[in-house]
């Protein structure tokens, strides 16, 4: 059975100029121990579909789907209270800007122990012990001392490690990483990706990588979903996608990579890809 199943997901936002459809009939499945990458440009609805699955969208959003289940349980029908027991525990998320997603007013130790208190009900000593273990697992040196530090005292890469430690604190079955390395240097990006892949393999987690970097996709994913303007353009395993892309959009996206440049000008997506769906 698939861990997360989404069928025909539609997300609409109410705006002053009428409803805006951010996600338009997207379906996907993630299995246990699988790495799924969702690729697309900004505005393609890749983050919104995942936020919808976690129930984190604001009230202006209208979410409908034929099926939206986690581990066989319907996520759309359940009460907010029930959902909060799953979100943060069994489904965890890592956000793009590590420094912005940690609370600057509290020590990182407080923030990680908060998760352990709310979801696991551990006592103070056990929380601290587990927090140190987690910091060790994500490769933060001097974990006991680091617990007392505030986010501004740490670098971007260290903050992202703290975010990962918080996300995996309750051994989630599914981890959603929303552009986890976009704000980081390439050398740090490599460390963070290696860490995520190691943790994913150790815990047999399902991992969803949301990204716009084709290099990150190539280095991590098992299967890839390509989104464009809220629609799914293609779904394929990673090798097929790079070797033999079916949709014109994917082909245009790969051709626009500077790595693949042949002439002295890059082909742009608007030259190669005509959006047939936009006329509808």
């Amino acid at each position: 059975m698939a861990l997360l199943e989404i069928e025909n997901l539609v997300v609409e936002f109410q705006t002053a100029s009428g409803p805006f459809r951010a996600v338009n009939g997207v379906s996907m499945k993630v299995h246990e121990g699988e790495v799924l990458a969702i690729v697309g440009e900004s505005g393609s609805g890749k983050s919104v579909s995942m936020l919808a699955a976690m129930g984190l969208l604001p009230w202006t959003a209208k979410v409908t789907a034929d099926k939206l289940t986690f581990n066989g349980r319907d996520l759309l029908g359940m009460s907010a209270n029930e959902r909060r027991k799953i979100v943060g525990k069994d489904i965890a998320m890592i956000f793009q800007e590590p420094i912005a997603s940690l609370n600057p007013c509290f020590t990182v130790g407080f923030q990680i122990e908060e998760v352990l208190r709310v979801h696991m009900g551990l006592d103070k000593a056990a929380r601290r012990k587990r927090a140190i273990e987690l910091f060790e697992a994500v490769g933060i040196p001097d974990p006991a001392e680091r617990l007392g530090h505030y986010p501004h005292q740490m670098s971007g890469g260290q903050c992202q490690r703290v975010m990962i430690a918080i996300a995996i604190a309750c051994n989630p079955k599914l981890l959603i990483a929303d552009e986890p390395t976009t704000a980081l240097d390439v050398t740090i990006q490599k460390q963070i990706l290696d860490l995520l892949m190691k943790l994913q393999a150790e815990h047999r987690m399902g991992l969803i990588m949301i990204t716009h970097n084709m290099g990150v996709v190539a280095e991590t994913a098992d299967r890839v979903v390509v989104q464009y303007k809220g629609r799914k353009m293609e779904e394929a395993d990673v090798l097929t996608l790079f070797e033999n892309p079916k949709s014109n959009y994917t082909r245009a996206l790969l051709a626009a990579l500077p790595d693949n440049a042949t002439g002295d000008r890059l082909p742009t997506i608007s030259e190669l890809f005509v959006d047939e769906g936009a006329a509808q």
């Binding site: 440009e41 240097d185 050398t187 190539a218 002295d264």
Partner: protein, 276 residues
């Protein structure tokens, strides 16, 4: 070919004043960097955050003085610490910043943004300023209709075009591009890189391209300089540096760059299968 920009042993120290409990400290942001760029060429400066790339960018654009060392633009020595800057010198170097959402004033219309450098640096009459702004808009792929609009009405790629247009208003010889495409989507990134290449051919511009994305650097640069903790650890033509990196940091950097070719994916999948 004439050399537009030459730097000899540039050093920049920042002094951090001490307090009651803290000792005063000196940060060596640049530790003696030398290079030269010929007209119409692109020098790419690569390195991670904190390596002194942006400090160097600030010195090249005559915003900050160097602590020691010489900076020559078109063979003429320039030292802004002495305060002998003329508007003619200022006009020769312009900069395009990383984030087009932050570098354009949200309260100014595009036309005013483009004309402002002329107002400050030249005494061009108003109608000529307007004509030149209109021509520049078309040159960077926008239309005259955009003249009276505000920055929030544009997408990221269009804003970066506006930022490039503003930098070109004074007909500079040298353009410092501080991570100009790293905030942009892949498809838009290709368009902006193409625009930069077109402008370079047309106006014989010289670029100093600051970036941490090696795939972009490999595509656009003629020469590459790799910086690490304020030092230039590698400097040479693009082909030399990419084919045969000498310093261990350059090698680390290459190894860390994600590869999007089929062979690397095959190798990774095979390794994963073995481990399972």
């Amino acid at each position: 070919m004439s050399v537009i920009l030459e730097a000899r042993n540039l050093v920049r120290d920042y002094h951090i004043p001490g307090g009651l409990l803290k000792k005063a400290k000196t940060v060596h942001a640049l530790k003696g960097v030398s290079f030269s760029v010929e007209q119409g060429k692109t020098l790419a400066i690569v390195g991670e955050s904190g390596c002194g790339k942006s400090t160097l960018g600030r010195i090249l654009t005559l915003i900050d003085p160097a602590t020691s060392g010489e900076l020559l633009i078109e063979g003429k020595k320039i030292d802004i610490a002495k305060g002998d800057m003329t508007p003619e010198m200022r006009r020769k170097v312009q900069i395009v910043f990383q984030n087009p959402y932050g570098s354009l004033n949200p309260r100014q219309k595009i036309g005013d943004i483009l004309m402002e450098p002329l107002v400050i640096n030249t005494d061009t009459p108003a109608d000529e300023r307007r004509d030149r702004a209109m021509t520049m808009l078309k040159k960077v792929g926008l239309t005259e209709l955009h003249f009276n609009r505000y920055p929030h009405m544009f997408s990221g790629g269009q804003r970066q075009r506006i930022a490039i247009a503003r930098a070109l208003m004074l007909n500079p010889k040298l353009l410092v591009l501080d991570e100009p495409v790293s905030a942009l989507d892949l498809s838009v990134q290709a368009q902006v890189l193409n625009l930069l290449a077109d402008l370079q051919d047309e106006l014989k511009l010289t670029y100093v391209f600051i970036s941490h994305d090696l795939s972009v650097v490999r595509y656009i640069a003629d020469d590459v300089m790799v910086m690490y903790f304020g030092e230039a650890v590698e400097y040479g033509s693009r082909d030399e540096v990419f084919a045969d990196p000498k310093h261990s940091y350059t090698k680390t950097l290459f190894a860390a760059t994600p590869r999007a070719d089929v062979e690397s994916i095959k190798a990774r999948l095979a390794k994963k299968k073995q481990a399972a």
